[in-house]
Each structure stands twice: as C-alpha cells, then as structure tokens.
Amino acid sequence: MKKNGAEKKFIPLDELLERTDRELGSGYFPEKSEPESAEELPGSAPCIRFVLDDILMAVPLSTALEIGRQPRITQLPNLPGWMLGVSNIRGEIISIVDLKAFFGMAPPGLKRNQRFIILHNAEMKTGIVVDRIIGIYTPERIDTGTRSQLYRAADAGKMAWTAYVSGVVSLGDTVMSILDTDKLLSCPRMNAFRGE
C-alpha cells in the first residue's frame, strides 16, 4: 500500500464497526446520488474504503449491510474457486466471494486478517473478502472523467476489475475507485448459480 497522507491512518476495526453501524442506522447518508457530475455537491454518498492488493477501492455505504472480521467459511463443492463458500452471519446463510480471485488479481484463498463486507442489491446478499478496510469516507468530488481516462473498456487481465468501477476520486497522490455494487452483483459470472 502506498503512502496516502492522513487518510492512511489505521482505524481500529471495532471503532469502525461502531461508526458504520451508527451511520447505517442513522439514515445519515442521502440516497445514492449519482456520482457523475457531482462536482462540489455536498451530498456525495459516503463510501466504505478498502484495499485490495494495494489498490484503494470503495463501495457505497448504502449498498453495504455489515462489515466484520473474517467469518468462518464452509466450503461447498462444485463452486468456482473465488466462491469461497457460505458463512453463518447471525443465523443467515450468506455466500462469501473472494473478490481478489474474482477479479483475477490472485489465486483464491484466505489470508490472515482479511475482512469482509456484506453487500446487497435488490436480489441478493453476498459477502466480499477484502484485504483491509480503511474507513468511511464521503468523497467531495467524484470524477468520471478520470475514470474514462484511467481505465479503458478493454482493460483485461489484472485490470479487468475496472469494468466494475463507476467513478474515481483523486486523493492527492493516489486515486480511489468506487465500485458499482449492483453491476458487480448482477454480472452473469456472479449469478451462475441462480438458475435450476
């Protein structure tokens, strides 16, 4: 992970959990404001920032249900490697996706100290495993221009994840890529187990 000024400060997880809970509960965040042309708009949606292989990413807080320490995962047969299995999140069975493996950044498998974020869209819930969760951040300015400059449609291989990026926020010497949760959760690969 590259140095990233003050933002890089490590927030203890418990504190973060508390903060997330507070903000999820208080209805503090406005409804998903479209990131494009959000220049100087005060109501940009808060995001949960996390790190995936040294890359700073974020998901809108409104699409996250819960974050936590790596849960106990039960492996299931006949699933692709990035589908780590299912976990019992307070009585509910939730699938856990190794996002790094899904994006083709690394072979599947858990490492110590990884965290999960439970994402949801209208149809499903799934947990993604990320390397580190940094905190909640409300970007002031989301730059769609940077996105199209930075990532191209044809980005392949290790950069294939860029297809799921909806906006980019410049933060001094680095950028934060905001993932489009819905696009991620509804892509065909993710949904190969729906039918039948």
Partner: protein, 987 residues
C-alpha cells in the same frame, strides 16, 4: 302410478272439491253485488292455491287452468277489468273445469289440453289481449300440458315428464318476469318458487365473517362430496342393485348437500340453497325410493356436485340452464327405474319445508354438526405456522447444544470420580504409613512429629499407655483424618452430581422425546396429503374428458402421500396441466381406441410414492404415446434440430418442455399454446425437482416428477471428510460399514461387499475436494452405504460424528443451487454444515433427454483473470453457431466460428482460442477427425475442447474423450450449465 302418490292426488282432489262450493258461492255473491272486494280477494286466493298446489302434486293441466282464472281475477282486482256477465260466465266455466277434474281425474282422465285451450282463449278475450298472439301463447302453454291427465300407464309416464319440464319452464318464466311474488300463496307454491328464485341482483347484505366461515365450511363439504362421489364412482361400474355400502355413501352425500344447503340458506345465499334443495330431493329418492343405481346416475351426481361447487364459488349466478337440464336428467333417471311417481312424494314432502330451509327436519342434527366442526378447526396463517416450525427447529438445535454440554458434564463427573479415588488412595496410604511409623517408634515419632508441642504435653500424660492401648493424635494424624473426611465429602458430592446428571439426562431425554413429538406434529400441520388435491384433479379430468368427448378414468394411488402445503400449491398447476395434456394429446378418441384394440375407457394414472428423500409422482396414460414424427417436424421448423442430424426419441421428448413448443396447429380450450410444459418444468424446478418423460408408441406416455422432500428438519448423519463436517439425510443411508480385509477388495478397483452386492468404493474426497493431493488410501475406511432412487453407493469417509436432528436451510440469496448439496444446516456451535445430495454430487442425476449430461469434470481452481475468453465454435449449422455465439458474447467473450473441421484448423493457425466448442457431425472434417488433427499439433494440445452435440450416448462421449475432448454438452443445453462448463475448462 304408485300408491302413495295416488293417495296424495286423491287427497288433493278432495281438497279442491271443498273449494268448489266456495268458488261458486263467491261468483254468485259477486254477481249480485260486484263491489265486494273481500269476496273477490278470497276468490283470487283460492284459485291461486289451486294453481300452486296442483303443480306441486303434479297436475299441470289443472294448474294452468287455474292460472288463467287467477290472471283474470288479478285483472279484475287491479280494476283493469269490469265484472260483467261474460266474466261471470267464464268464471263459472272454469269452476266447472275444476269440478271435472275432481270427478274424472282418478278414473277416466281429463282432456287437459283441450280444457286449457278453451279456458285460455276465453280468458284472453275477456282480458282484451290481442287475438294474433293467441296461437303462440297457447302453443307454449299447451306444450306443457299432456293431452289428458289422470290416466295411469305409459301415457302417464310421458305426461309426468312433460309436466315436470313444464313446471320448470314455468318457474323459469316466473323468475324472468319476476312479478309474481305472492306471500299469500300456498306454502307449497311459494316454497317451490323460492327454490329457483334468483338472488337479487345485488347480493343481500351478508356479514363477511359469516360468508368467510361459510366458505371455509363449504370447502369441507365439497371435498367430502367429491371424495364420496369418487368412491361411488369406483363402486358403480354397471347398473345394478345398491349395496349397503353404496347406500351409506349416498347418505353421506345427501348429508353433505343438506348441510351445505342449510348453511347457505341460513346466511341467505339463496341460489346455493335452491340448487342444494333440488339435489337433495334427488338424493332422497336415491336413498329411499330406489334400489338400483347405474353409472349414469353417478355421472349426473358428479355434474350436480360440480354445479354446486360452481354456484358456491359464484353465488350470484343461479346457473339456471344447468339447473334445469340436470333436473330433467334427474326426472329421466327416476322414470327409467320405473317409479315415476315416487319423486312426487318427495316433491310434496319438501313442500312442507318453508323458505327457511335451515329449520328443516334435520336442523338439530345439522346444527350440532356445524358447531362441532367449528370447535375442531382453527384458522391460522401459514406464516405463523412457519414461524413455529422454525422456532422448533431452533429449539432442536439448542437441545443439541445442550447435549454436547451434557457429555462434557459427564466427563467432569468422571474426572471427579478419579480424583476422589486418588484422594482416598493418598489418605489411606498416609494413614497406613503413619500408623506403621507410629508403631515402629512412637516415642521418637511423637517428638519428631511436627507441632508436637501441644500434643506432646498431652501425650506425656498418657505415657504409661502403650501406643496400642491408646490412640494418640498428632497433627499429622489429624490432617490424615481431615483428608479422609474430604475424600468422603468428595465422594458424596460425586454421587450427588452423578445422580443429578442422570436426572438431567432423564429430563433431557424426556424433553427430546417431547420436542421431537412437537416437531413431528408441527410438521404434520403443514403437511397435507395428496387426497386434498385429488378431487380437484379428478374434476379437471372429468371436465376435460367431457369437452373432448373422450372416456377417461383417472386412477389416483398414493393419496396418503404427504407434502408441504406450499409444495402441493406449486405443483397443482403442473399436475393439472399434465393431466389435461394427457387427455388431449395422449388419449385417443374412443373409436380410435377400439380400432387399436384398446378398451374405449382410457385409464389415466396418477401415482405418488416416496423414494428415499424424494416424492415421486408419475402420470401415465395408455394413449398413443408421443408423436415423434410431428415433434421432429415442428422442431425442424423451429430450427431446434438439424435437417440432417438424426435425433433420438429421448431428445425429441425433451423438446416438449421447450417454451413455445407445441405440436398442435390449433389452440384449443384445453391445450396447444405450448406454454404449459415450459411452465410445468419451471414450477417443478423451482421446487428443486425434475421431470422427465417416457413414451411408448400406442402404449402410452409417462411423466415422472421427482421432488426432494424439503422438510424443515431431518435426522442426518454427520461425518467428516478432510476435517470438514458434512451431513447426509439418515433415510438415505442404508448401512455404515468399517471396511476390512474380509469385505473389501482392492484390485483392480476398491470395492466393498454389502450383502450380496459388490459396490465400488467412492471416495467422497475426490468429489468434495477435486484436485486435492492423492494420499495413500486408507486400509480400513469407514464406508457409508447410501441408497437413493434405487441405486446404492458406497462412500468412503474419514470419521463419523454421529446422528443429529438438523434443520435444512437454503444456501442463501446468492447461491440458489449448488450442485451436489441439497442445502446446509447450522449445528449447535454455529458452524455451517453442507447436506450432501449424493446422486447429484456423484453426477448420477444427469438424466438423458432431460438436461445436459454433465461431465463429471472436477471443478478446477478459480478461473483466471477477467480477460475475455476467446471461444471458437465449430458447427456446421449456422443457427447453432449463432445461438452459441450469442450466449458466449453475452458473457463478454470473444467468439470465432468455423463451419467445419478444416475451416477450424485454418483459423487455429491465425489465432489461438481459449476453448473450442465442437460439433461431431460436420461435412469435410467431422469432430472426431478434427480432434485427431488437433492432437497431432503439439501447440494446440493445451486447448480444451467441449463437444456440443445431440449425441448423448456413452459411446459418443467415450470416443470424444478418448480423442482428447475435455467436456461434453448435449443439445439442447442449459445456458448456465454450458457457461459453467466453459468457465471450468477454460479457466
């Protein structure tokens, strides 16, 4: 004419005779003084009574004549007509007719039609009705009256019928007109009238609670009715005398109809009670008036019941035409049995029954019935029951956790026992040691003994005693004594604890028994047997058979099979659809069947049974079987199969499940839209079941539906493989065997002897962790022998954990269906345990002609990066190329196509795809040749090849695999499976 009816008519004529003097008197009085309104009213009432009662006892001629007079008097009453001499003459004339009836009806008979005609004309003239309409009015009226009345014999029979029709026509007319509602009329007339009186356009205000409970009740009665009728149907094959059992069934039917009618009348649903009343009359006759019964009667009864159900469903619509036609059929049946007069008695008897039918003879009986039923049922929302079931599931889990703690408790007690022994041992040893020493050198010891100060002074007083003569206590001996006492205390605690433990254990066991009983009962609440569905299905078949004019008998077996209510709800439509289809497409017309040498009555079977943890429903007919020729034709036209390729019958059969596929050119009321089978499959798949079809030419078609039982809780065996816990439903496990040298063979393949069978040992590890490093096989593995769908499997596992009650949960909102597991469960410590679905896991489930024959290719590790795959599709059919290309492109992959092997080889030279999808039969160079050519080129060897073909046989597969193909996909394929396979192989 039979005795009792005769008696009634005779009695009735006597009654009429007593009216005649009053009539004549009245006419005379009026002649003298026309202004006596009360006399006129009295006359009107008398005539009205005669009209109504005559109809009731079955003298329509008299009734019609009386009606003419009544109309006339009505006009006078409403001052439309003046009382003039001609009027008096006509009145006297008509009264004369009454006299004729009284005198001649019994012996000579009465020229009813002629008399009526004259009366009619006379009255019409007086009332100033247009002459031109005379004929039409007369015609319809005269039709309803026999030429003569009162004669016995055949003529009478005919008259009877006519008269009944007339009565009904008349009633219908009265309704239509709706102007006649005289409360002053004789009870008989008004009762009859009310019977068919339509409900007012706006339904009377009925309290919704009443309505609701009525519907709840009516459902029960209709079901009872249906099931009684069905058992009646199965008993009555040919006309013949009734057995006591049949009588009993009829009694049941009558009771159900009666109760329903009564309930409907009480809350004011007059259409229901009206029809119920008519039906009940017929049932009365069946029960009391006749000894014989035939299939015709049963079918009439069934139609009646259907009509009743329809009216209950739509009480605003009295279904008049249907009521009339059925009523006519009742009469026919009653006459056929040669006792035409009997119903008259019945017609007369209920005449005494006033409008408030609820208060009828059996009202007490019925009242009690309703009351008891109300206390028996309680309506509870399904979600509440589900909550309870879930809670009980959780309770079971909690009890399971308690179990674990209990065994820890028991261990602790054991530990305690051991320490108690140790303490006792130490205490004894010390005591012995001490005593020996004390004996050996008491003096020196007592000095040496620690803390001898106090003891020493005490001891010195007893120096003259030998140590054997007086026990002396040093501090050590006191400690030893305390130790001994503690040992005893510990021992007491131990026994108390172990008593407690066994008490706990006893209580816990009781709890468990109760809990499982409660659970069992809860499950039962949601479970309903198929018989509740049976009636609906029977009715469907009956109606369809009628529409199609085919003769079909539906035989349902396994009605006791219970499934969750929700499952039945979801499966009802598919079942009905399959039955309708069988009736429409499968079963031939009766004459065709005769030609084929089959009985004209087709048999449609619906069999439900339990196999392992599945419920299997088979629907089979003895019809013509699938018409493969027209399926093939349609499939070709739709581009589903190639002109050239030969497709097996099984593959063709699978096509009928495709959306929009129908071999019918016309859409009928019954079938032909091509939507149904697709919906059938979808519905069944949503229950995680599957459906397959088998067909034999001219022997019939059979659909087999398999639905896994998803009880909320099952007993399961928990075991580990590679240190992970898995579960298998206990009812799938036949045996657990420890394999050893005696029952196991190792070469050439590990197999185990189970009874007389020799089963190859399947290592679960290979299926659960494909690609895991091969280890030395265990010399004496634990083997689970499972049996599912009649096929036994021997599975090697690592360790057994024991059996447990588990609650099946789904795999969440993301993973709807994971191949090889039927669900997961959460055990006491919160771990998620997969429940294995053995047939699916081992890849046995792939039924030919159903889905793709999935290749048991182990799941490789994760697919590589997101880099779009390049797929080469080699197929000679352009439509296949297009369809597959679109599917692949939808995944964001790049697609190359080639129309045969040679072109494919050329394109391979230009760029290297990640995967090749290959057809077998192609011009110039077929799939096998292409595989051969590919393997000759070392640089192409790494490219995985998936065979996409309609050849599903093992021979074709083996050949392809032998040549290096990595996967096999059978057309028609399932998109998701195909994509999965491609991902698996290319990743």
């Amino acid at each position: 004419m039979s005795g009792p009816a005769d008696e009634i008519i005779k009695g009735y004529m006597e009654e009429v005779r007593t009216h005649i003097p009053s009539l004549t008197d009245g006419i005379e009085k009026l002649r003298k003084n026309p202004d006596q309104k009360n006399v006129l009213t009295e006359l009107h009432r008398l005539v009205h009574t005669i009209k109504g009662a005559s109809l009731m006892v079955g003298i329509p001629g008299l009734s019609r004549i009386a009606q003419q007079m009544e109309d006339l008097l009505g006009d006078i009453l409403s001052a439309k007509l003046k009382l003039t001499e001609p009027v008096f003459r006509v009145l006297q004339f008509v009264t004369g007719h009454f006299q004729t009836y009284c005198d001649d009806l019994a012996e000579k008979g009465v020229p009813a039609r002629e008399m009526l005609h004259k009366t009619l004309l006379a009255c019409r003239r007086l009332r100033g009705l247009p002459k031109e309409e005379d004929e039409s009015a007369a015609a319809s009226l005269l039709q309803s009256v026999p030429e003569t009345e009162g004669l016995s014999g055949e003529e009478e029979t005919g008259a009877e019928e006519d008269e009944e029709i007339a009565a009904l026509a008349e009633l219908a007319r009265m309704e239509a007109g709706g102007e006649e509602a005289e409360p002053s009329g004789s009870s008989a007339a008004s009762a009859e009238q009310q019977t068919v009186e339509p409900a007012p356009a706006a339904m009377p205000e009925i309290m919704p609670e009443l309505l609701e409970s009525f519907y709840e009740e009516s459902k029960e009665h209709l079901e009872e009715l249906d099931s009684s009728l069905n058992s009646l149907e199965s008993r009555i094959a040919a006309p013949g005398p009734m057995s006591p059992a049949v009588k009993e069934i009829i009694r049941k039917i009558r009771r159900a109809v009666h109760t329903l009618k009564g309930a409907a009348a009480v809350i004011g649903l007059s259409n229901i009670s009206a029809w119920g009343h008519i039906m009940e009359d017929f049932l009365d006759w069946l029960y009391e008036g006749t000894q014989d019964m035939g299939p015709e009667t049963v079918s009439v009864l069934m139609e009646s019941a259907d009509l009743l159900a329809r009216i209950v469903a739509l009480p605003q619509d009295p279904q008049r035409s249907k009521v009339l036609s059925l009523q006519t059929r009742y009469k026919e049946i009653m006459q056929i049995s040669g006792k035409g007069a009997v119903p008259k008695e019945d017609a007369a008897a209920p005449a005494a029954e006033p409008a408030e039918v609820g208060e009828s003879l059996e009202s007490d009986d019925r009242g009690a019935d309703i009351f008891s039923r109300q206390t028996q049922t309680l309506r509870v929302g399904t979600e509440k029951v589900d909550e309870l079931v879930n809670l009980i599931g959780e309770l079971m889990i909690a009890a399971g956790a308690f179990d674990q703690q209990m065994s820890i408790f028991a261990e602790a007690i054991h530990e305690l026992e051991r320490s108690r022994e140790r303490v006792r041992e130490i205490a004894r040893n010390m005591e012995l040691e001490y005593e020996v020493r004390a004996l050996g050198g008491l003096r020196s010891r007592s000095v040496l003994s620690p803390g001898a100060g106090a003891a020493g002074t005490d001891a010195s007083k007893f120096e003259d005693f030998d140590s054997l003569e007086l026990d002396q206590y040093s501090e050590l001996s006191l400690i030893i004594r305390t130790l001994n006492e503690s040992a005893i205390d510990v021992s007491a605690i131990f026994s108390r604890l172990s008593n407690l433990h066994s008490d706990f254990d006893g209580h816990l066991n009781r709890q468990r028994v109760l809990l499982s009983e409660v659970q069992d009962k809860m499950m039962r609440i949601r479970m309903i047997p198929m018989s509740t569905l049976g009636n609906k299905l029977r009715r469907t078949v009956r109606e369809v058979a009628k529409v199609l004019k085919k003769k079909i008998r539906l035989v349902i077996t396994g009605e006791e099979i219970e499934l969750d209510r929700l499952i039945w709800e979801k499966i009802t439509d598919p079942l009905m659809h399959l039955l309708r289809n069988a009736a429409d497409h499968g079963i031939e017309m009766p004459d065709v069947r005769k030609e084929k040498g089959k009985p004209p009555m087709a048999v449609l079977r619906l069999e439900a049974s339990r196999e392992g943890n599945q419920v299997v429903i088979r629907i089979s007919d003895d019809g013509a079987g699938l018409d493969y020729r027209s399926i093939r034709k349609k499939a070709r036209r739709a581009g589903l199969i190639d002109e050239s390729s030969t497709v097996t019958e099984e593959e063709l059969a699978a096509l009928i499940f495709r959306p929009g596929f129908s071999t019918r050119d016309t859409i009928s009321e019954v079938s032909g839209r091509g939507v149904g089978m697709d919906v059938v499959r979808e519905n069944i798949q949503s229950l995680k079941g599957n459906v397959r079809v088998q067909s034999w030419k001219d022997k019939g078609t059979r659909f087999t539906i398999r639905i896994p039982l998803t009880l909320a809780a099952i007993r399961a065996l928990l075991f580990t493989v590679e240190g992970r816990t898995y579960a298998i439903a206990l009812n799938e496990i036949r045996e657990i065997i420890r394999a050893d040298a005696q029952n196991m063979i190792k070469i050439p393949k590990r197999a185990i002897r189970v009874g007389n069978e020799l089963l190859p040992i399947t290592c679960l590890k290979e299926y659960l962790f494909p690609g895991a490093s091969e280890k030395e096989p265990c010399p004496a593995p634990i083997v689970l022998v499972t049996e599912c769908g009649g096929k036994a499997e021997a599975l090697e596992i690592d360790t057994l954990l024991g059996q447990q009650e588990i609650v099946i949960k789904s795999t969440g909102t993301h993973l709807h269906h994971v191949r090889g597991i039927s669900g997961v469960t959460i055990v006491g410590d919160g771990t998620v345990v997969p429940i294995l679905n053995i047939p699916e896991l081992l890849g046995m489930e792939a039924e030919p002609g159903m889905m793709s024959a999935g290749f048991a290719e182990p799941v490789s590790a994760a697919p590589g990066g997101e880099a779009p795959l390049t797929v080469m599709i080699v197929d000679d059919s352009i439509s296949i190329r297009q369809v597959v290309s679109r599917l692949m492109e939808d995944q964001g992959w790049k697609v190359q196509t080639a129309k045969d092997g040679i072109e494919a080889l050329e394109k391979l030279g230009e760029s290297r795809p990640d995967i090749i999808i290959l057809d077998i039969e192609m011009p110039r160079m077929n799939g096998y040749e292409f595989l051969n050519a590919m393997s000759a080129e070392p640089e192409y060897r790494g490219i995985p090849v998936v065979m996409l073909t309609s050849r599903a046989t093992a021979k074709h597969q083996d050949k392809a695999v032998g040549l290096g193909a990595k996967g096999f996909m059978v057309k028609p394929y399932n998109d998701n499976e195909f994509i999965d396979l491609v991902l698996k192989l290319a990743g």
